[in-house]
């Protein structure tokens, strides 16, 4: 394989040694592709109400609907083709997970590094707040914030960020605190570089490995949390269902044996979350110096 001598090439080669992790990574990539090309590959546009027929609602997998094609995974209470709804749902779930993950990463890292670099009162204030929040269950915090802000994509992302930035802040703080004491940072401070540049060029790059690990885990957590909120009826509006909303829609019909409406979106959700977690675990192990051979 080419490029083996570069750090990234070595990292990749080591990653490839774990077959399960590679398989999980392929699944994650596949799911992202499905989400990206949802509008091309799905048999139906599940958001176009003109496409939906109530005659087709709650049909079991394999039913041939009025559209003339087979509903491989059945239909939901609105007569949506479940397979198409899952593709579109994946899109929304991944979108929200990524957005919430990146915003929390930015805010959390900024706060964590600020606390570690500046120290003193600001450090005490930020970290005390972060610790307090970490002891408080994320689900409850998100629940309250969504209830306060109302429904919608931006509000939902805001709630997820508020619930999760603290994990990034803790991690960035820990890493930056350790790096701050090292000689190369002292040397950089002694040069006429501005504080901003010292942080951006020297401190931040050396804090990234643990942040990448936390980011993968937190994206999976955001997706799971969003699904939970949607299930509780506090997520996105019903017109654009995420995976959690699809599961929630099917819940009342489960008692009468119409399992597919909830089960298939749930399977998609779990495959996505577990795959991201497996990839994250492998990356964490590779970054962990104690497990180095």
């Amino acid at each position: 394989m080419s490029g083996q001598s570069t750090p990234i090439g070595l990292f990749w080669a080591e990653f490839c040694e774990n077959k399960i992790a590679v398989f999980a990574l392929i699944i994650v990539v596949l799911m992202i592709l499905l989400a990206l090309f949802a509008s091309i590959i799905s048999p139906q546009n599940p958001y176009d109400l003109a496409n939906l027929s109530l005659m087709d609602s709650r049909r079991p997998p394999g039913f041939v609907g009025s559209g003339g094609y087979t509903h491989v995974l059945g239909t939901d209470p609105q007569g949506r083709d479940l397979l198409s709804a899952i593709f579109y749902g994946l899109r929304i779930s991944i979108q929200i997970g990524l957005a919430a993950g990146f915003v929390s990463l930015t805010i959390g890292t900024t706060l964590g590094i600020l606390a570690a670099y500046v120290g003193g009162r600001i450090e005490a204030l930020i970290m005390r707040l972060v610790d307090l929040q970490l002891s408080f269950p994320a689900i409850l915090l998100a629940l309250v914030i969504v209830a306060l802000l109302g429904q919608g994509k931006a509000q939902l992302i805001g709630a997820l960020v508020a619930a999760q930035y603290a994990y990034f802040a803790r991690t960035a703080y820990g890493a930056a605190k350790a790096e701050r004491g090292k000689d190369y940072i002292e040397a950089a401070v002694a040069t006429p570089l501005s504080t901003r540049l010292v942080i951006l060029r020297h401190l931040l790059p050396n804090c990234t490995p643990p942040l990448i690990v936390v980011a993968t885990v937190q994206i999976a957590n955001s997706i799971s949390l969003e699904a939970t909120l949607s299930f509780l009826g506090l997520g996105l509006p019903v017109t654009e269902p995420s995976l959690g909303m699809l599961i929630s829609n099917g819940f009342p019909y489960m008692m009468s044996g119409r399992y597919w409406i909830s089960v298939y979106p749930g399977v998609a959700l779990i495959i996505l979350i577990v795959a991201i977690n497996i990839v994250g675990d492998q990356v964490r192990d590779q970054f962990n110096p104690r497990l180095r051979r």
């Binding site: 002891s135 409850l140 306060l148 999976a220 939970t228 299930f231 509780l232 577990v274």
Partner: protein, 324 residues
Amino acid sequence: MLGFIIQRFLQAVGVMAVMSVIVFCGVYAIGNPIDIVIPPEATEEIRQEAIRRLGLDRPLYEQYLIFLGNLLQGDLGRSFVYNIPVLELIGGRLPATLELVLISVISATVAGVTLGIYAGYRPDSWVAKTIMAVSVLGFSVPSFWVGLILILTFAVNLGWLPAGGRGDTVQIWGVEWSFPTVNGFSHIILPAINLALFKLAMMIRLARAGTREIMLTDTIKFARAAGLSEGTILRRHLLKLISIPIITVFGLELGSTLAFAVVTETIFSWPGVGKLIIDSIGVLDRPVMVAYLILVAFLFVTINFVIDLVFALIDPRVRHGASS
């Protein structure tokens, strides 16, 4: 030490004060509960009367001061919807949540520690690998989904257990409990498993990590050299040595399980506090929301305070670091 306690206590009080302002303003910023409390056919006179009676015509800070004054006297207001004191409402729902949470945390701890010790004792056996795979699933699969699958499998398809509600209850010391009756207990099983799964995964990991570490120490070598049976070593020595982190997490988790019960109670229509708060958010029953949040915040601030004190007792660096 006294200075440290006072400092932390003041901090806790400060946090509670800030939380009460945030919660109050946040909750009172959303929606207009009048539209929900009063039927649309009511006359303007009745509307105005209701707004005045609920104190909603006053400015926000005045409402907060009234709320704070009442709070300090142990009065958290009356529910808009049920029209009974909020504390009474939450108190009435608390036993249901408590029995669910206690049963699931205790069974998760017992089962998790047993499985975890086994997985740490024989880390290469296939049983241990299965146990660890289950714990990974317990961590990553969303709990509401597990709840659905439990209902689908054991209630809908097999018909073994009921899918929701509390079942028969008996009165003990004037409070209704489900677990002593056969019917009530059968209602607890599924929600308790659902709620326990995450804790189970965590306990397995803790116990396994502890066991692997302790099994390599001299304590175990000496115990073996003394001719003790493996069972006695595990029960009498290992269990004692791994118990400190497990007890800490047990305490911490009790609080967060109370919060997680929101999801489980909704799925299984368990009439506890979690279900109450979800219903209250749905109908904008502000006093119930505020009271619940304040109580939860109080619970967590108290837990944190106690943990700080315990750590300070154990580790002198903590209290010196704080005073310098």
